[in-house]
């Protein structure tokens, strides 16, 4: 008796839940739910109070500065309340993706180089309607606006200008008796420098990290030999360029001028806490220019920034300008207030002074001028570098490789196979080309 009943009950509950679940899993960014919740929260006091949520990642200093700007904005705009949802970088994107999947993302979202991914999936608000009226970007370098413009629509505003670049330990150059690199240096200069540094500073010291696994370095190299990583659905390089690229690094590795494969893996340059540039054991690495703050804090050596070397086709700096963006969730209920706040963050002089260069060099020239007066030595290194890049970068309209994350992983895997002698350059490159073409085909199919 009871047994049958239990089973019947179980089946009933199961059916009910399947119904509820298929609803939940179908995962239309649940507009209705989001809307009812948003209005329920946002418009109390006869619809006057507006509540916004803003998410960003960073460390304590950035949290402090961003919160101060939010407080300032709330003071100047009574009836608006902005709640910060901030954390470190670990898990930031996982949480954001989960929130978007549930239709529960914050109104304001800080994004980095992956902004295109979110634009492609229609997760971000088109800010174009507010430009000129509420949101002012005319003071910005054209490249900055372009970086967040897709299909002629603006999806984000740069909070801090940066650039993928080479960071060097100037103290090591000095110890080796070498002048620090300037913007005219070539790949031959680069090779000569790293070999000399490794020789002069002795065992355990290297001229450079192995940049063969770094997509930005590869992109720049391809540019310098007149090719391109990607444009309009196709790759614009061939097997030969890849063989040249990996052979160059292989020679340097065999000469002991760059870090051996195991050191590269154990102390990757991407992690500030592990980078050997900080320790004064490696002279050059690839980085985002604004990262120099984090690196410089941890060492007493002098760090500097320089452009990628030049090749026969000139400088291949790619992408010339990058940075962190403030964007808005497509499902926000208060697009105008969002635009107003974004404008405040980048154009208000008071806010600009508070934020400083916590996310890179501020995009608006008038705020840069104010800040330049009170800059620290590290600020100055970054500022000088960014203006150098802005002046010398070739006028190329940079396109990001689609499925960028997968491509980066593939390049890293190929590089490791060669570096650890697990596979010859020739066959590794063959595999790399096949897999790259598969990725391109997959990107087209989506």
């Amino acid at each position: 008796m009871l047994k049958k009943k239990t089973i019947a009950m179980y089946m009933l509950t199961l059916v009910l839940f399947l119904a509820a679940c298929s609803n939940g899993a179908s995962n239309e960014p649940d507009k209705e739910g989001a809307a009812s919740q948003a209005t329920g929260e946002a418009t109390t006091d006869d619809g006057k109070e507006i509540e916004l949520r803003m998410s960003w990642w960073g460390a304590d200093e950035r949290h402090e500065k961003t919160l101060k700007v939010i407080e300032l904005f709330e003071q100047k705009n009574p009836g608006v309340k902005i709640t910060g949802e901030y954390s470190g970088f670990d898990g930031y994107l996982d949480k954001l993706n989960t929130q978007i999947a549930a239709g529960n993302a914050p109104d304001l979202i800080q994004l980095g180089g992956n902004i295109k991914e979110y634009v492609d999936k229609n997760a971000l608000l088109d800010l174009t309607p507010y430009v000129g009226d509420i949101l002012h970007v005319d003071d910005f370098n054209g490249g900055l606006v372009k970086a967040a413009t897709f299909n002629d629509k603006l999806y984000g505003v740069t909070l801090g200008v940066s650039s993928t670049t080479l960071m060097y330990n100037a103290s090591m150059f000095e110890k080796a008796g070498l002048p620090v690199p300037n913007e005219n240096w070539t790949y031959d200069d680069f090779k000569a420098d790293v070999i000399q540094i490794a020789e002069k500073l002795g065992k355990g010291h290297y001229g450079s990290y192995d940049l063969s696994s770094d997509a930005a370095s590869l992109g720049s190299y391809l540019g310098s030999v007149g090719k391109e990583l990607y444009r309009d659905g196709e790759r614009h390089f061939d097997k030969q360029e890849m063989i040249d690229w990996f052979s160059m690094w292989d020679e340097l590795r065999k000469a002991g001028a760059i870090v051996p494969a195991d050191v590269q893996v154990a102390s990757p340059p991407t992690a500030v806490d592990k980078s050997l540039v900080v320790k004064g054991e490696v002279a050059i690495q690839s980085a985002s220019a604004s990262q120099i703050f984090g690196f410089q804090e941890l060492t007493q050596d002098q760090l500097g920034l320089t452009v990628y070397p030049n090749g026969p086709a000139g400088s291949g700096m790619i992408p010339p300008i990058s940075g962190q963006f403030i964007t808005s969730y497509e499902g926000t209920k208060h697009p105008e207030m969002v635009a107003k706040f974004i404008d405040f963050m980048v154009n208000d002089p008071e806010a600009g002074v508070i934020l400083g260069s916590t996310r890179g060099v501020p995009p608006a020239a008038k705020i840069r001028d104010v800040l330049a007066a009170q800059s620290t030595p590290v600020d100055k290194v970054l500022y000088d570098y960014i203006s150098l890049v802005s002046n010398t970068a070739p006028a190329v309209d940079y396109q990001q490789f689609p499925l960028d994350n997968e491509f980066t992983k593939l390049l890293q895997l190929t590089s490791e196979k060669i570096a650890f002698n697990a596979n010859s350059i020739e066959s590794s490159v063959d595999e790399f080309m096949t897999e790259t073409d598969k990725l391109l085909a997959k990107a087209k199919a989506q």
Binding site: K3, T6, C21, G24, A25, N27, D30, G33, Q37, R53, S55, W57, G58, A59, D60, E61, R62, H63, E64, L67, K68, T83, G84, E85, Y86, S87, G88, F89, D90, G91, D94, K95, T98, A101, A102, G103, N104, G112, A271, V272, D273, K274, V278, K279, G280, S288, S290, Q291, F293, G294, F295, E297, L298, T299, Q300
Partner: protein
Amino acid sequence: MAIHRQIRSFFFHALVLGFGLLMLYPVFWLLSASVKPTTEIFTSKGLWPSSITFEHYSEGWFGLRNIQFGRFFLNSLILCVVAVIGTVLSSSMAAFSFARINFPLKNLFFALMLGTIMLPGHVTLIPQYIMFHKIGWVDTFLPLMTPKFVGDAFFVFLIVQFIRGIPKELDESAKIDGCGWFTLYFRIIMPLSLPALITAAIFTFMGTWDDFFGQLIYLSDIKKFTVPLGLRLFLDSSGSSNWGAVFAMSVLSIVPSLVIFFLGQKYFTQGIATTGLKG
């Protein structure tokens, strides 16, 4: 003779302690990093700092705007205490049922229960989040607390194994004395499974204390942040991090678990209480 034994005992203790200290090397490194000046944390090789500073501790504790690190400790403690109570209660009930009572479909249910821990959590995370979002529980402690009250397969299985180590004659004699199932569970089986319950309590405490991903996904308001989330506030792996504060607060964050463990472990000492299993 006595001297001989003392020497042997000395060597024994030296060995156990020495090996233990070796295993603790990373912990000493952590302690030392938490009092080193920032520029030395990653650049100096030895454990010994050139000068000792406690500013990382004060930065970590007081350095965040509008909130102190103590708040995160409080939140974590609340979460952990609730989790421990919920887990021990619900898991022991289910375990008692599986181990001592016969009913139809028991094996199926047990298999289903184990099945729930065989599917990687990463793929159920999103559907679960959507579910909790629909009932308005996101950014509250509920999605983190409620699951603790329904029994955890790991602990149910653990307690089942222990209950099955208790001779069944005990049940029979209790039945003859007129005990109901509840009395049997509460008065006889639970006290005899104490080591397993303490184990479950310690593990739940530590598991909840350390859980970063779940807490990150469900909690957004800084006032509800827990210790693992608080630690990450100093850590921007893509840019600049306040490493000193990370290490200093990491040191502090170990302390509660350590205390709980030290208090709990004495229940594992053989021979403290008679086991009462003369059955």
